[in-house]
Symmetry: C2
Subunit: 434 residues, 2 copies
């Protein structure tokens, strides 16, 4: 059936929601063109404190409501955009929207990572779509390619820089030799990092995003709690210096791999070869490398965040949902659940870089090597880097052959317990093959 217009309801007028109010208006002509009828913002649900925002003052007052009932009862809302963030009350609103037959579009990565599987099932039950292109890699297509273009590929691996804040900090540490604290401060001054940066620097944001990507790529539910995550705060300028000497770059990667029909999903700092495509992604940009049986490898690169790129992705989803409303088309189909299980981090195998501070005396390396050997970990190279004359401590840098995480954690505990070892200053996993 032809439609006179498609109605949008928006929840939230923060940075993203505020931009979306503007963008739907700015892009009205293009939207009408590609959907086949006007796409109209009918109602915006706001919090009382939002009513003082400039974006609210620039629009007719009756567009906004603080009342949930008024919002959901507004007639002619076909698509609801949830741009509030967080789990509650967003989850409840998603339920209400989908159950009443509205398509839902959202950039809310935490909600999709935690509840995407259930919400998708609910959407299918009501024959509507739940779309979340803006939740990962905002501005560049990523969710849609996984659902469409790459859908018949068997994906073997995803290697992703999906947090711009941490990539900016690591770029500054690598290029300028800055320590973490100084690079973080710079990122905060430039507005790339929040005053409370934990969500970014501890890998929390990235682990939500990886849960979303891995679920799509491997056709199984990868929950956030299945994704091991570590941040970048324990990295030091020394690690970057030694990495460069060894021919590696240091990046915070979100990695999901299929190994023997089980899925590995983990976010942590890694050494990657400096000639790798991902090693060259600098600053606040995001990049996602995908390997599959037919595509070999493809890479998507872009801003990954920010109000305009995020709204670009939200509007792409609005168009997809609106075309379904206007054209009577059907929602996306998914591939059957692959039933693949998630490998615990303790069973993951990688190479390791170790940096150890020890007494500068004969036999130190032999004692460390014995512990590694006893744990079935073989050493690829070992260099005693330098001695601090004031403390008589030497720095030992080791690269191992592939070893299981469980064995490495056991060995690290034993090494830390050695009397001649002052500290295991750092250990960083190594990904050679990208």
């Amino acid at each position: 059936m032809a439609r006179d217009s498609i109605g949008i309801g928006l929840m939230g007028v923060g940075t993203i929601g505020g931009q979306l109010v503007k963008s739907i208006s700015d892009k009205a002509e293009a939207l009408a063109d590609i959907v086949g009828c006007p796409v109209v913002l009918r109602k915006v649900k706001v919090l009382p404190e939002d009513l003082s925002r400039p974006v609210v003052h620039g629009m007719p007052a009756q567009l906004f409501t603080t009342d949930e009932e008024e919002f959901f009862n507004e007639p002619g809302i076909d698509i609801i955009v949830e741009a509030m963030g967080g789990v509650e009350p967003a989850l409840e609103y998603h339920h209400r929207a989908l159950s009443t037959g509205r398509h839902v579009v959202t950039p809310n990565k935490e909600l999709i990572a935690k509840h995407g599987a259930d919400l998708t099932a609910l959407a299918e039950e009501h024959d509507v779509s739940l779309l979340y292109e803006a939740s990962v890699g905002a501005g560049f297509p990523l969710i849609t390619p996984f659902k469409h273009d790459l859908a018949t590929n068997e994906i073997s691996g995803i290697y992703a820089i999906i947090n711009g804040t941490t990539n900016y900090i690591l770029t500054m540490m690598a290029r300028e030799g800055m320590e973490f604290a100084a690079a973080l401060k710079l990122a905060q001054e430039k507005g790339y990092a929040e005053p409370n940066p934990e969500n970014d620097v501890e890998g929390i944001d990235a682990h939500y995003k990886l849960a979303i990507l891995a679920s799509l790529a491997f056709h199984t539910q990868v929950k956030p709690e299945n994704v091991h995550h570590e941040g970048i705060s324990r990295l030091s300028s020394r690690d970057f210096r030694y990495a460069a000497e060894l021919g590696f770059a240091v990046k915070l990667l979100a990695i999901a791999k299929q190994v023997d029909n089980t899925i590995e999903a983990r976010v942590h700092p890694v050494f990657i070869p400096e000639e790798s495509q991902l090693a060259k992604i600098n600053g606040v940009y995001n990049a996602v490398l995908v390997e599959g049986d037919m595509i070999d490898k493809v890479l998507f690169f872009g801003q990954g965040a920010g109000p305009l790129p995020t709204c670009s992705s939200i509007i792409a989803d609005i168009v997809a949902a609106a075309q379904q409303v206007a054209g009577g088309g059907t929602r996306d189909r998914r591939r059957k659940d692959s039933g693949r299980s998630i490998k615990p981090m303790s069973e993951v195998t990688t190479r390791y870089y170790l940096r150890i501070k020890a007494a500068d005396q004969p036999g130190v390396l032999a004692q460390i090597a014995r512990i590694l050997g006893d744990n079935q970990i073989s050493i690829a190279s070992a260099i005693q880097k330098e001695t601090d004359p004031s403390t008589q401590a030497a720095e030992i840098v080791l690269m191992t052959h592939p070893a299981q995480e469980k064995a490495m954690q056991q060995a690290l505990g034993e090494i830390t317990g050695l009397k001649i070892v002052k500290e295991v200053s750092n250990f960083i996993r190594v990904e050679d093959d990208i």
Copy 2:
């Protein structure tokens, strides 16, 4: 209406068609899953000489026919994949397929570049889709993002490495200091270049692909004859050496820009800053950088060619068409024709690098500079590089400020006519802003 199966007819069993016969079979389960019913290859149109191919012997004989009538009259063909290449008879078959209500999927870039606008109109008339994701950047999504994800962005520029053969040759020239002929020979030995390499090295393949991308990005018909194209055969190892000294990489780029509501579309070697993302794309890979008002910039990277990546893109299109058949969905809508005109190459403005061989005598640079000045071209830097003692010829390398192509061509003619100038060895346009 629910369907028992979706039928595919394939035209051509060369490298791509042959792989597709295998891939449709290999991916049967994933295809059925995502389409909602089996996707079945019903008939393959071949040439008499194809009947001896191994792929034909591996399948039931009745699957193949050399007879056009038998192919088109086979019942139950919903989607026709044309993998023959070239314009005739492919164009005639596209007409016949679309006119009889079949969706058409093709990797045929020459046909789409030359006749895509007419064929798309014919498809719309019959309410079916013409899909050609595999025609540019095979293996990674590009056509679909332009039609969907980026569709409401105002695209300001496309900068693309879309020919793997030439990118491999340029990589060898840059890395190994090889001359063009030696690098081409190596590419031929590795199977990256054809025995007759003209289509790749002269920019013909790239200019078809750019015509397709520019038409989509700027919502207007950009014909191949609107795309100025030059190849890489006139590049010398000296140009790479001087480029590196000046901080540039040399790439064959396909560039389409919107400038003052007109479209520039051109394929030629360029100097780009060595820290640019595209400067780091080496070997046979493709990469397409897109700039838009909301996305800022995004980049797509992948193989761009080869039987498996091409079939990945063809299968993605088959899925899209099959979902329309199975679900009763509607085809893509396009944005209205923007009516933008194409700027002739003579009016394009860029910076230039010039390499000139001249007599090693006083006043040479002054005479060249006067001609440039008379043509309103100002010099940014000038270096007399070296003198060949045997010929008493000096090499002069100039970088200009932005100048119009028309003026530069006029100046180059005048410089060539100077008695003291032995030759204008090369001129290469410069793109600073990517």
